[in-house]
């Protein structure tokens, strides 16, 4: 390549990536773009999460994800841009330029990205990707197969509307699809959670007795594009690299050919051996999900957080942005004279069943606000505490299609639940247990 020749992409734009190999000559005095990354020091997860001093910055959720990746010793990141997460992977691309991420490229589309993440993880490297809404569902074929193949990786899902009519605002109905895949699913409330959950996700997912992918979900624009305070460790330290030989299944290399698939070839046939193998794989997966509890407890301080639940008139159970709205609702309820507790669920898979049964044993009223139409969290809560609590459960209020949830709607439900006055926001069929009149529900179901 002559000096005047400029490398261009197919659109004719000059390629200026700092990650391209250096041109000969004129290198002296030029700053090594990887210099800072090369100086990063490996620390233990324990030091990183519990001891390392942190400083507070006011950044967007996408920037928080970038900063988490900077400190996570990531080998491979694959991008496919989709609103509202495009900025996240773009920022991770900047990290690649700076040498913090070893390999990075843009996939053709999500099916290819998720398949490539599977390949990367199977080869033993630490992988990260992010997608949103329709991209999540497009990639779901690959994502749903990750846990069975025992592929540790972290995927950030910045939830947005997937059902028609389509919109680009947050709606977390896609989590309902993810929680049945067998992966660990964490739901971040804010920018700080995005930062913490991604970093902890690598450590938890790569534990020998877990060896599973981790999905970190947050509610699109509200978290990715808005700024919030994030307390972060120094950028000069990073997590230890992935140690693939500690995984529950062998990684691929020349001595270990695509072992698992070839070993279990009968899985492709319809016979009793295949059914057995399927059962074994799935049992392994869900047992591994169970075993991840202790690590979520250790590194994130619990599958849920509970505030003021003991003796409260009502308890709000929420995850993601609904938890943020609920904090305000608790404050407004206090001003109205209602004593309301808040349970924020961080881990949807594994689900904090035991914790909820204990916390809700004496609860009288539970309100579950959600940012989706179907109410997956209310179902989870009801299933978990059935038989362990006499609480009346109001499965709402819900907003969807990208709407912000007015805090006042949550307050209304608490008030109506406590006073017996029916609010106009939640259908009778969304109210379970306690003093619900089955005839009223039947009437509602007939008349909608």
């Amino acid at each position: 390549m002559s000096e005047t020749e400029v490398k261009t992409n197919p659109q004719g734009d000059p390629i200026t990536s700092v990650a391209t190999p250096k041109v000969e000559g004129k290198v002296e005095g030029r700053k090594d773009p990887h210099a800072e990354a090369k100086k990063q020091r490996v620390v233990t997860p324990e030091y990183m999460f519990f001891e390392a001093p942190r400083t507070r910055e006011f950044i967007t959720g996408s920037e928080a994800a970038k900063e988490a990746i900077r400190r996570s010793n990531v080998d491979l990141a694959i991008a496919y841009p989709i609103t509202p997460q495009s900025e996240t992977m773009q920022l991770v691309g900047v990290l690649y330029g700076e040498g913090y991420v070893k390999e990075y490229y843009r996939g053709e589309e999500e099916v290819g990205v998720m398949a490539a993440i599977a390949g990367g993880s199977r080869a033993g490297v630490r992988c990260f990707t992010a997608t949103a809404g329709p991209g999540t569902l497009r990639g779901l074929e690959g994502i749903a197969s990750w846990p069975g193949h025992r592929l540790p990786a972290v995927a950030l899902f910045t939830c947005r509307v997937v059902n028609a009519p389509l919109a680009i605002q947050p709606d977390n109905v896609e989590i309902a699809y993810l929680i049945n895949c067998g992966m660990i699913v964490l739901h971040a409330e804010n920018q700080q959670d995005v930062f913490d959950f991604i970093m902890a996700g690598f450590v938890i997912g790569e534990k020998n007795d877990v060896t599973l992918p981790v999905g970190v979900c947050c509610d699109g624009f509200f978290v990715t594009h808005a700024r919030g305070y994030v307390r972060m460790q120094d950028r000069g330290i990073k997590l230890p690299p992935r140690d693939p030989w500690r995984g529950a299944v062998p990684v691929l290399d020349a001595e270990n050919p695509p072992a698992r698939l070839s070993r279990d070839a009968p899985v492709q046939k319809s016979n009793f051996m295949a059914y057995n193998i399927h059962a074994v794989w799935q049992q392994e997966v869900w047992a591994a999900v169970e075993r991840s509890r202790k690590y979520i407890n250790r590194y994130l301080g619990g599958l849920l957080t509970a505030e003021n639940v003991e003796g409260a008139d009502a308890v709000i159970i929420a995850s993601g942005s609904a938890a943020a709205q609920s904090r305000e609702a608790v404050r407004l309820c206090k001003e109205k004279g209602f004593n309301v507790g808040l349970i924020k669920i961080r881990s949807i898979r594994p689900f904090p069943t035991k914790e909820l049964r204990e916390l809700c044993a004496n609860a009288k009223l539970i309100v579950v606000p959600e940012f989706n139409y179907i109410g997956w969290l209310a179902r989870e809560v009801a299933t978990a505490i059935y038989g362990y609590s006499k609480a009346r459960i109001i499965g709402g209020p819900r907003v969807y299609g990208g709407q912000s949830m007015p805090v006042e709607l949550i307050v209304d439900e608490v008030e109506s639940g406590l006073t017996g006055k029916k609010s106009t926001n939640v259908a009778m069929s969304q109210i379970m247990g306690g003093t619900v009149n089955p005839e009223e529900v039947a009437h509602f179901m007939r008349s909608i």
């Binding site: 804010n190 509200f222 978290v223 808005a226 942005s321 943020a324 709205q325 904090r327 305000e328 404050r331 001003e335 709407q403 912000s404 949830m405 007015p406 805090v407 006042e408």
Partner: protein
């Protein structure tokens, strides 16, 4: 109890509604408070409806998203009311009981009878401020209308002060170059040319804010303990 105001700003494209929300938000934070903003991204064009939402408080704010039930609504342009240039119709939709509607208009407007009745039912306080007139009188341009409304609401909430507001204006025009959007950045340069130089622009904007702040105090709208703001001698000489 937290002093907390959820504010919905409604105006038309070109008035600087989103800029106003940024400046108010920054000014409250400058004064030691807490604030978040959510601009409503619709069609960005002159005279098209624009909304921006600001939460201000003296305690942490966790809530996110647009404001459906505001304590305060600010109407930047009478057309929001008369032409229905609002994403939330009618213009006072969701206004909380005993809420405040701060309207840029020279004297009380004649509202439709059902709207007037509904506002009365929720005991809304209607504050009419001739913000564009103040802007014209003080700065010689109507472009500081948004500053007048920010100054006025600053005094009404009592969560900021003139010094913090002035700093916020400086941050906006001299600071790190916060860009609301591509269109707004282009508009900024037009605004700057019209005001010849930035220093003059800042001084005039601040003077408009101060005049509106005092307007709020003089009309008894200001929060308890909020005083009139007197112009510094040096600034008064140049204004």
């Amino acid at each position: 109890m937290a002093r907390r105001f959820n504010i919905r700003m409604a105006g038309v494209g070109g008035q600087g509604v989103v800029t106003a929300s940024h400046i108010l938000s920054t000014a409250v934070i400058n004064a030691g408070g807490e604030s978040t903003i959510v601009p409503f991204y619709g069609s960005e064009k002159r005279m098209a409806p624009v909304e921006s939402y600001v939460r201000v408080s003296d305690e942490p704010i966790y809530e996110i998203g647009e404001i459906t039930f505001p304590h305060i609504i600010i109407i930047f342009h009478p057309q929001v009311i008369t032409h229905g240039k609002s994403y939330t119709m009618p213009f006072y939709y969701g206004l909380k009981e005993d809420g405040i509607a701060l309207i840029n208009h020279d004297g009380p407007m004649k509202l439709q009878s059902d709207q007037a009745r509904e506002l009365e039912e929720r005991r809304a306080k209607l504050y009419y401020i001739p913000a564009t007139k103040i802007s014209l009188e003080v700065s010689g341009m109507d472009l500081a209308t948004n500053m007048a409304l920010v100054g006025c609401i600053g005094a009404i909430t009592g969560l900021t002060n003139m010094q913090a507001l002035e700093q916020a204006v400086k941050d906006r025009f001299l600071g790190k170059g916060f860009v609301v959007s591509g269109g707004t950045a282009a508009l900024d340069s037009v605004v700057e040319r019209k005001f010849k130089k930035k220093q003059e622009l800042i001084e005039k904007n601040v003077a408009v804010m101060r005049a509106a702040w005092n307007y709020a105090v003089d009309h008894g709208w200001a929060a308890k303990d909020v005083q009139r703001a007197e112009a510094p001698v040096a600034a008064a000489a140049t204004a």
